[in-house]
């Protein structure tokens, strides 16, 4: 009998064009390469300079998401782009995809959306695949039992030219999440709690495999939320073993195998989960049943607390370095140590991003907007992750709920997650955001971001202050 292997090891082994040696890294084959306008132009320039073609345009897909506006369509049905640099970047992607034969979901296309939302919803993201993109949140696709990770632009060029990457084998880390979530506590709270417990560098060098009762009971969209933020814990990739929940999600999607091919694929996918007796290099644990809704108070995603806890005090920190980091973060955030975040006024609520912009996120948020109004003085942006999510939400009337409450219902894109399009949080203002990063200036220069779940964001939107969503639930 062969040695028991982890999910990661099975996917890794199956994609080795050449195994690693002490002198050379592994040559790893890539099944799907997603590209967008921000991290690809310089890679195409490199290809042209060397006279290279794209080896497998049929394993490559482009979309426009980062620098695109999310302003509602005009009377001609067009989403107007005003920023000349964004126009040039989008035009460049259009030109590159046309020249090299790469399919592209461009702005205005019925399938356009955030790169990590469209892969799964198109059925392109499947168990056992290797998936890369010039974007660190590529870890999202690991929810399907794929090995998916972010790469830089040099590596984008490597994959375009050869469909392969040079990689050293990462170490494996089991992330065991036992118990069941209580009411008002979500997948987002699991991942924020995990990063708060183990820090933003805790996963460096590892690929996470999330397992345990809590993970098994989550939907695919919830698993994506967790895998999405693996990188915030330092892990380049996070994976979940595929199961019936996975197969049911994939069935019938445009790029999913059909009929007998689907049955054959499911049979293959069932062999992927980690074998009994397989050994991980490291293990982390978290109890889901003890979790409360989480919120961040600082300037990295590890600076998170249960929503009813006080902001930590520098004197409670274990060492001088963490005291200094906390002082710096609280000065930026304008928050007082030892005081609760509950009841703190907010200026902006952002519901969106590759972490929390899928239909189930919007449904969760909508339940608090129904029959209520956005609190006076609060700007609420609701940004679906893709055109498909937008249409599905509109089909069930979620857009009307948001708009009647006074929230903005916008076009699909990365929006206010990263402050590179027109959607920003003004300097010094407080935002509760369902996105993934609360770094200084992430949502705009001087923006003060508190990360939370769609439930917490929606509860905060209608009260105008940081609110525990459980207090609004029946």
């Amino acid at each position: 009998m062969s040695k028991p292997r982890t999910l990661f090891e099975k996917v890794w082994d199956a994609h080795l064009v050449r195994p690693e040696t002490p002198e050379t890294p592994a040559v790893l084959y890539i099944d799907l390469h997603l590209i967008h306008e921000v991290t690809s132009p310089q890679a195409f320039t490199e290809l042209r300079q060397r006279g290279l073609r794209v080896r497998r345009p049929d394993k490559t897909l482009g979309t426009m998401d980062h620098s695109t506006p999310t302003t509602p369509r005009n009377h001609l049905g067009i989403i107007p782009v005003i920023d000349p640099m964004a126009i040039s970047q989008l035009e460049q992607l259009r030109k590159n995809c046309a020249e090299f034969g790469i399919p592209l979901f461009e702005l205005g296309d019925e399938n356009q959306g955030i790169v990590h939302v469209i892969g799964p919803e198109q059925g392109l993201t499947q168990p056992g695949m290797t998936i890369v993109c010039g974007d660190s949140h590529t870890s999202t696709h690991g929810a399907f039992g794929a090995l998916a990770f972010g790469i830089g632009t040099s590596e984008v060029g490597h994959v375009l030219a050869t469909q392969c990457l040079l990689q050293r084998k990462p170490k494996t880390c089991a992330v065991r999440i036992d118990g069941r979530l209580g009411p008002g506590v979500t997948a987002k709270d699991i991942i924020l709690a995990l990063i708060a417990k183990y820090g933003v560098g805790g996963g460096t060098g590892y690929v996470f495999e999330y397992m345990g009762e809590a993970i098994r009971s989550l939907s695919m969209e919830e698993r994506m939320t967790i895998c999405n933020m693996s990188i915030e814990g330092g892990a380049r990739a996070g994976m979940v073993a595929p199961d019936d929940t996975t197969f049911e999600y994939i069935a019938g999607r445009p790029f999913a195998p059909k009929g007998a091919d689907f049955e054959a694929a499911v049979a293959r996918w069932r062999t992927l989960p980690t074998d009994e007796g397989a050994v991980f290099d490291h293990e982390l644990t978290l109890s889901a049943s003890e979790l409360k809704p989480m919120i961040t108070y600082g300037t990295n995603p590890g600076m998170g607390i249960p929503i009813d806890a006080p902001v930590p005090r520098p004197e409670d920190m274990p060492d001088a370095r963490s005291r200094a980091a906390l002082d710096k973060a609280l000065a930026y955030m304008g928050l007082e140590p030892g005081k609760p975040l509950l009841g703190h006024p907010v200026d902006v609520v952002f519901i969106g991003s590759c972490t929390n912009s899928r239909l189930s996120d919007l449904r969760q948020a909508a339940q608090f907007f129904r029959g209520r109004k956005v609190a006076p003085g609060v700007r609420v942006m609701v940004v679906p992750g893709s055109q498909q999510v937008k249409r599905a939400a509109e089909a069930e009337g979620l857009d009307r709920i948001f708009k009647e409450a006074g929230a903005e219902w916008r076009e699909a894109g990365c929006s206010a997650c990263l402050g590179m399009n027109d959607d920003k949080v003004p300097p010094g203002k407080y935002a509760v955001s369902t996105s993934n990063r609360n770094f200084e200036g992430r949502q705009g220069p001087g923006a003060r971001t508190m990360l939370a779940s769609p439930l917490t964001a929606a509860a905060t939107a209608v009260t105008g202050v940081v609110t525990d969503p459980r207090t609004l639930m029946n």
Binding site: A14, T39, P103
Partner: protein, 202 residues
């Protein structure tokens, strides 16, 4: 890519942990379609005051930091976004190496690809360097890639790890794409013998 053998130069210390790539270069500077001019956005929010004037307290703005080629910073340097614009901006500004107790995985990989040397040292050595820099802001260091050593201002040498392949490529100015292109035959054989799960072209 220019071969690297030794890097000797003035160092500047930015004593902050978990510096993310949004600090190294904010997203609004990522709208370029080439690699030029990124130094203007390097640490933009820390380097400049809200009125646009240089922040005199930021280490890179101090007169003695002029011409520094080695950046020393706290652990988990380069976490967050995968943007290669971060090492491009550091290189465009004039840095040739970054020394830290640890690096985020994607930043390290990106830096190695472009010849910005990531040098991992022990936390205790980092703490010593911070103290030495406080006494001597003109402090210079020497990094020997072949020997994998950093020579500290007091003459002591400390070792640093680097993957053998990355080291070879940096020492010889070989870029990694060339190596991959030479694998074409093995890649074709792999494609012929393995299932190809999806085609984006329908």
């Amino acid at each position: 890519m220019e071969p690297i053998s030794t890097i000797t130069g003035k160092a500047v210390v930015l004593p902050v942990e978990n510096i993310d790539t949004d600090q190294i270069i904010p997203a609004r500077f990522l709208k370029v379609t080439d690699k030029s001019g990124l130094a203007a956005g390097l640490f933009e929010a820390w380097r400049y005051l809200p009125d646009g004037a240089p922040n005199p307290d930021f280490p890179l703005n101090r007169p003695e930091a002029a011409g520094a080629t080695i950046l020393i910073s706290g652990r988990n340097f380069g976490c967050g976004s995968s943007r290669e614009h971060a090492p491009w901006a550091l290189q465009d500004y004039g840095f040739r190496a970054v020394i830290a107790p640890s690096f985020a995985d994607i930043f390290r990989s990106n830096a190695l690809k472009i010849g910005l040397l990531p040098v991992t040292i022990e936390q205790a050595i980092y703490d010593e360097l911070v103290a030495m820099y406080a006494n001597d802001p003109q402090m210079a260091l020497s990094i020997d890639l072949a020997a994998q050593t950093v020579t500290l201002p007091d003459g002591r040498q400390v070792n640093f790890p680097i993957d053998a392949f990355s080291k070879y490529c940096l020492l010889h100015g070989v870029d990694q794409l060339g190596f991959l292109l030479n694998q074409a035959e093995a890649i074709t054989a792999y494609e012929a013998s393995h299932p190809q799960p999806v085609k984006t072209t329908g």
